[in-house]
Symmetry: D2
Subunit: 438 residues, 4 copies
Amino acid sequence: MVPRYSRPAMTAIWSPETRFRIWFEIEAHATDALADLGVVPKSAAEALWRWWATNPAIDVDAIDAIEAVTKHDVIAFLTWVAEQVGDEARFMHQGMTSSDVLDTCLAVQLARASDLLLADLDALLDVLRRRAFEHKLTPTIGRSHGIHAEPTTFGLKLAQAYAEFARCRDRLVHARADIATCAISGAVGTFANIDPRVEEHVAAKLGLSVEPVSTQVIPRDRHAMFFATLGVVASSIERLATEVRHLQRTEVLEAEEYFSPGQKGSSAMPHKRNPVLTENLTGLARMVRGYVTPALENVALWHERDISHSSVERYIGPDATITLDFALARLTGVMDKLVIYPERMQANLDRMGGLVHSQRVLLALTQAGVSREDAYRLVQRNAMQVWQSDGKLSLLELLQADQEVTAALSRDQIAERFDLGYHFAQVDTIFERVFGRP
Amino acid sequence: MVPRYSRPAMTAIWSPETRFRIWFEIEAHATDALADLGVVPKSAAEALWRWWATNPAIDVDAIDAIEAVTKHDVIAFLTWVAEQVGDEARFMHQGMTSSDVLDTCLAVQLARASDLLLADLDALLDVLRRRAFEHKLTPTIGRSHGIHAEPTTFGLKLAQAYAEFARCRDRLVHARADIATCAISGAVGTFANIDPRVEEHVAAKLGLSVEPVSTQVIPRDRHAMFFATLGVVASSIERLATEVRHLQRTEVLEAEEYFSPGQKGSSAMPHKRNPVLTENLTGLARMVRGYVTPALENVALWHERDISHSSVERYIGPDATITLDFALARLTGVMDKLVIYPERMQANLDRMGGLVHSQRVLLALTQAGVSREDAYRLVQRNAMQVWQSDGKLSLLELLQADQEVTAALSRDQIAERFDLGYHFAQVDTIFERVFGRP
Amino acid sequence: MVPRYSRPAMTAIWSPETRFRIWFEIEAHATDALADLGVVPKSAAEALWRWWATNPAIDVDAIDAIEAVTKHDVIAFLTWVAEQVGDEARFMHQGMTSSDVLDTCLAVQLARASDLLLADLDALLDVLRRRAFEHKLTPTIGRSHGIHAEPTTFGLKLAQAYAEFARCRDRLVHARADIATCAISGAVGTFANIDPRVEEHVAAKLGLSVEPVSTQVIPRDRHAMFFATLGVVASSIERLATEVRHLQRTEVLEAEEYFSPGQKGSSAMPHKRNPVLTENLTGLARMVRGYVTPALENVALWHERDISHSSVERYIGPDATITLDFALARLTGVMDKLVIYPERMQANLDRMGGLVHSQRVLLALTQAGVSREDAYRLVQRNAMQVWQSDGKLSLLELLQADQEVTAALSRDQIAERFDLGYHFAQVDTIFERVFGRP
Amino acid sequence: MVPRYSRPAMTAIWSPETRFRIWFEIEAHATDALADLGVVPKSAAEALWRWWATNPAIDVDAIDAIEAVTKHDVIAFLTWVAEQVGDEARFMHQGMTSSDVLDTCLAVQLARASDLLLADLDALLDVLRRRAFEHKLTPTIGRSHGIHAEPTTFGLKLAQAYAEFARCRDRLVHARADIATCAISGAVGTFANIDPRVEEHVAAKLGLSVEPVSTQVIPRDRHAMFFATLGVVASSIERLATEVRHLQRTEVLEAEEYFSPGQKGSSAMPHKRNPVLTENLTGLARMVRGYVTPALENVALWHERDISHSSVERYIGPDATITLDFALARLTGVMDKLVIYPERMQANLDRMGGLVHSQRVLLALTQAGVSREDAYRLVQRNAMQVWQSDGKLSLLELLQADQEVTAALSRDQIAERFDLGYHFAQVDTIFERVFGRP
């Protein structure tokens, strides 16, 4: 975890305190269920909750000190709780194994992390929707291969991003369901020493579903799917960040990250305003993606379990969720405050001498009966002249002066093909598809 | 694509012939829609389908020869079709861009690939269910960290695998939906030169959903999610393969891959029967996982698109689906014919002198009022003796001779804890959770 | 392997014929050594080489047919050779195990592949050197964060690329040494049934070093390092390809991939010239990088070996080397024919109204006694005006009109800071460092 | 960075204090060189070193507070130093850019980290050598595919590990050289505002080589190679860890991680001794490998640089080196204290009824004139009986009773093939290759 790329709410989920609090809740709910089943005295569960009601501080150092001796974290925790609660605490953890606590706790942590990430996505989607509508009809050049293609609107670019993150949201909902399961099934998952109803009770109390079959541990294909999904979200972040970086290039400059008055772009070059936030997001995306493979490698544990997944999860549990939370928030800020230059977009659109309308002319020619090959040749020979003039010649004028072209289309018919509005006729349709009917 | 790790049906999806056939269907359906909209003559669409009805062979070499000149695959294809169909073919592809054809074709290919993979998973699930019930109550030792833990049944191991692959199936259904979209939206996705109803028509005809907003290309987060999902399935394959490899170890030998009479295990050591199929699956899983990262890196295309994703997809489209199809079929074969040795399972279960029952004794002691720490100490000191004897001493006998233990539990009470059946009391519950009520 | 991204020489290394030829040479050389040691009759080795001298065709289908029965590739091959050579062939493979043949063969294949890749790098380095000197003093704007920074020369950009690929060449030399080892050490690497001198003889004959200690297989950390190195080379390819893609953007257009007369850029937009080769290289780099992780996962084989690495290597052996060979050759072609536009470079350099000289003014101010903070403020306030004018205002004129600036520097002193040549004073130094003294 | 998987010396390299100290040294050495060149007053450099000689505490919080305003770390640092040193400090950083400081600092940090890792490897190599000689002739079964193959010695297993980590050491030496370069070349690497002799001076002072050509930043192919190398080392760690995990399996139990008296293996099962350290190492290896891909993705920065690499390096710089340092030390501890059970190795070796000698019999038969196919068939039919008896039948006895066998070999000749010592004849040779002549 890199502090500068973290936010408090997500970080808190991964603190020792939070972990121990969740452990306690799992143990106490389990003790409730055990008491209901008559396995342990009701007084045991009551003692636990009575202590808990005092809102006790968790003494992480004390627990760590015990662990230093026992070399076992759950035993250390139980020992510490027993010291606080007293004799009744010995009924805690009856028939359970450490993994029942650890894996169910991880499920709670990842579910909470998912909730924050879903809220992050909602905030991002709100910003994208607002700005998409703001620039619904702001003309800009569409580019394929970095080369001017045909006109589009800046709103459509943002609508695309909105749709992409809406898909990411759906995927995260699925991924959350995948990891939000509770397992309290004992040493090898047979419930030999614990009634499955304990698991059901704890699951219900913690808002988790029941793991149908576990093997001491919750199977790691669930977590693999979760982290793979975060990797996809990160890649979508990289895509939008890359778009902003391109738009801010000196020669393009159609949009800029907001640059606060006091901010210095470069220690050497005072004029520079660099897209450092979106470059940063590009790097963060690499990290979140980098956590996917270790998560996939965690699936093939040996037999009923080995503990190789645990160290991996101590890294990627916090790192992937904290980094993605930060990145989503940063991207939301960037898009919220993005300085957009419609005039520059128009200027870029115009600079290629009308080449962007070449396809419409091509179509018009074929519809006027010219063969596809001839139409292509006619348009290309004029387009190439414009291209080589770097937009100083006008495609419209050249075409209107090309007798082979005017043999098929009148000069007015040619001019009609140079209407920008034509390209935006379906913007409403697309917005309806993406954002629903207004 | 490695021929020896491929099967014909999946391979055929990725042949040039199949690709060109799908291209034709996209173009012809689009021409139908264009004709309905009055953009092109109905006769154009009819001419296409009339030719198609003759079930024409696709001359891949001829198309490749044209591409060698034009350096553009879709133009080459259209040119070739025009040569076959004649003059009416010039109305084909009106207002479309190459990516409309290429991306929608990829969607069809991946959807078909998904259908094969879903069928593969169904076959695997059938085998796992059958064998799980066959060995529902076959006792075997559960192992954590490779060390004997507590008894379980071989059927439970297989039930776990069933549940895991059932989850994989669900994930693949989602992943299929993610990539099965149709985009026919023109040069930058604005539908400037083509009516969105063309896209809707083609989507309906091909069983795809409509891409709400595209940018010449279908956004690659969809494909990233698809290949990431295949990576998760591959990791689950690796898990079950690893289990089989462990079970076949000389010292364990609780199960073996089927070994056909003529098969030679080693050129040097005639007696060897190696788990080569599951080792092979382990390697194949690495490959399918390896394709996840390139797919994730494909998401951040520049602006409305660049073509860097294309070369990646020429590899991983076929390689990931063909390899996974082969791997699933191979795993199904392995599990179908797996030679299982219940006697050996029982022998292994017995070899540790009853140590597997230690937790039950621990519980019994605490229930009899011994403190958790004392109970642990009492059991451990006897367990350690058994451990050091390599199972030659009997835990039951040692405990019955330990006066501190017998102070809390009678010798009969101790003996009761060594009942294997006790561990299997919940097998029915778990099977119901996994396979549903019988 | 994707045929369109392959070249014949590299592909041939991975053909079954080549593999069987290498196998034969290993076996025959080993038989020579065994004969010298008196283990087998000299006539056995002679028989093998006599047959080989007839330059026999390798009947791959026949060998495959035998393998279909034996399910063992080396035994199938030995059986086929025995059919050709006759009775003497039974002395072949004495004391050897299949892996002796397979792993040593892979070493030969990877060493040959390395030689082709080294030649590819040499060709690329030649082109980069030539073009670097050609544009040694062609002024162009240096960009950080995509934003204009300070002037550089196009030759320096290429010198940087040269230095990077020269490093890649060194790395590949090391990687080649890592994998070019010969192991003929028997079933678990103990030489129990074969004299180490056989290994030494075969190694010498094949130009390999001796594997100091093997375990039936050559340890896979060697191959991991090899494929990791290919991944680094691929990443350097991506870097240069990305540079070209940026330079070809419509708004930048400082260089372009060569576009042959007959080539069509887009089926819909006749004017487009897209950097498709370098986009393609970007994708190919993703693939070669994608093979690194499976190679790393191949290292941890079980005990003396398992065969999980084998399927991985059947993919990545050919795929990584063939793809990288193709990519290097393509990049060489792109750089060789790259169309470079020095006027456009100059125009871009000039377009920001002299902002690129801001740092020199900053330095001059501090050297004239202005505090760093004040100097920064003075330059920034004028730079910002130029920036906001999109280069229409001139930084030189603004500074010359700023009384706080002219209080420290005369108008002439300011003007001196706007000399482009100043920036290129060390180009010779850098070229000497990179290319050596002329 | 996960505290429990970190050690102080490596962690300290990545502390803010260390970073700022290295920054100061770079700036002060550069000021020395600038003073020698007459660019800045000698008094400026002297002022810096005079302050430094007071061994001043670095006030990280104060620097951070300045950065919160300037949003620029190097400017914040320079401002703070200026506050400490006074007016003379304004000559610091003349003609330099932030990256000159940042990248050279990273080079120093990675070089120091390399030195620690090299020392870690030396410690590991020492332990492996010692234990290899200790068990040079301890017989143990060699296993391929997890199946008993032929005898080897435990020392040979360790010699193999030694050779592998010796290779890793060599690779790390190369990787260190790759990243230990100094760049002080200004805004786009042209040395426009700074003399290359400054770079040379600082490089010499810091023990770095000179970066021949930089582009504001040191090219990231260097770092990619470095982290890829760490990924290979991690994979070798996983290999040895996996070996230990296998050896500790209940059924195998040929070696065990040292288990301290107070340690609890399981909260539920008191007898368990789990190979948790090597399982942990398996997970840590996944993490270090996971950092390779982000490092590779960092290579293709845009033009002269973008800053996307920076966030990645804030994670993987510390995380990869700290984790690998911890892992190497942990592995060294495991191997140092590994409890080895030679009797159990012998017992396992004997348990398969002599099957391990089958290849020797096979060879003897062919040498006695039996055809390879017949010899294979004869040995296999007896071997299979032994196999099916689970080692209760004796291969020697069966072969001696097989008349087709005894037709070729006398009973004594057969018995001679069952001599274990035969397998160890070349152990000295291999040890000499690995460890050199004694």
